[in-house]
Point group: C2
Chain length 249, copies 2
């Protein structure tokens, strides 16, 4: 029970959006428990949450160009709510997803009310994780454009290995969730090849290797924006979980 | 060159202290390049940096008790600067170690001046990573007491997998540095077993598995404070690097 409780909400934290999940209801591959749970959920979000994956003044030229590159290929939504065309879909990102979920354990009211998603816990634009995730379902690929802020330092002048692991967990977890519904991370295996200087922009690309029963295997590379330099490579294993009982705490 | 530049300062970031390195000069196993480099370093630190590994008002009962448990077994330093007795040694932790090091790449002056260690980038006590690392050289063990703040959320109510990876990288990197001098992380392989609720205190224990040439292998477990519940287990590989040329940029 405890094992299944914790990481099950990766979909919420990574995709960050009940709206996204509702759009998933039109996806035949979305599993039934996800569908029923979302349909039964009360309104758990504040009325106008900030989408942190939109461009802001801290974004450098590379971030803006890459954003435009992928965003221009994204599907459009008509006034009637229908999705039309586009190879890619940008996923919104909030700093808290299910603010009343207690994950089945006792948490103080203070912690519950103040908790924020780790990758979005600093509001100063450009100081920490600036990123946007795009998914290409046909090719079973995800691309994340990531600009590393000055508060992510590990080795002087470069990004901390834990911050890189955090982004890999976020991107592969998002991808696994898009592919397989709710999942929890079972393993991350990360090879660090070359450092990422603070302030730079990199690409994080993931692909689905295989799905075996409840297991989804994802691989991931972090490269320079032109793809010529490999910074980090990783594999990740996610396990699908049933979630309908989790919101009952 | 680039590969060796980035993660080489793990010693600085993890141990966080030139003072610690100077104490290492009395250690016959410290390599010559480290010794000469430290002796040649100018004063790179502010006069009274805050040691973040000391107890503060946010620490809960478990953190305080564990801190006292290990701290009471720590070696004492005489007025003459000599170390006496004690199984354990507490390692200080700062939010920036070498603030003028450029890691061989161009960084803007703004980024250089504002950069902060990822695990110490939030000054609000208790909000993020609260931890203290103790090392036991005789037993080749490290123990880290870690209290997870509300800004580390991943799955609602629980710590983000990337935040757990960050602590594992920090503790194993510190341990490898104590054991082998300057190192860079080459691999982290992490198995997530059960979630860590926000606000809780856990133990992170590492041990040296073997050293083969430039490679140091460390294993690590994250458990409940009584050791009965396994949250995460990991292996880490670090590679020793020569550092004397790095400060030249």
């Amino acid at each position: 029970m405890a094992r299944s409780l914790g990481r099950i909400f990766r979909g919420f934290q990574s995709l960050g959006s009940l709206a996204f999940m509702k759009s998933e209801l039109n996806n035949p591959s979305a599993n039934l428990s996800l569908k029923s749970m979302v349909q039964e959920l009360p309104s758990l979000f504040s009325s106008n949450p900030r989408d942190f994956s939109l461009p802001n003044s801290s974004w450098g030229t590379e971030m803006r160009q890459l954003y435009e590159h992928y965003n221009s290929q994204c599907e459009a939504v008509t006034d009637g709510g229908e999705e039309q065309g586009g190879l890619w879909k940008r996923l919104p990102s909030y700093n808290r997803s299910l603010k009343y979920a207690a994950a089945g354990v006792y948490l103080s009211k203070i912690i519950q009310s103040k908790a924020r998603l780790f990758t979005r816990n600093i509001r100063e634009p450009g100081a920490a994780f600036e990123y946007a995730v795009f998914v290409n379902k046909k090719e079973q690929r995800c691309v994340c454009i990531f600009q590393a802020g000055h508060l992510l330092e590990g080795p002087p002048g470069n990004v901390h290995g834990g911050a890189i692991a955090t982004m890999i967990d976020t991107v592969t977890g998002t991808h696994a969730c898009v592919h397989s519904g709710f999942v929890m991370t079972a393993n991350l295996n990360i090879n660090y090849c070359s450092p990422i200087p603070l302030g730079s922009t990199v690409l994080i690309e993931s692909s689905v290797d295989k799905k075996e029963g409840r297991k989804t295997y994802i691989s991931c590379k972090v490269t320079s924006t032109d793809g010529t330099k490999l910074h980090t490579e990783a594999t990740a294993l996610f396990v699908s979980v049933s979630v309908s009982h989790l919101l009952k705490g």
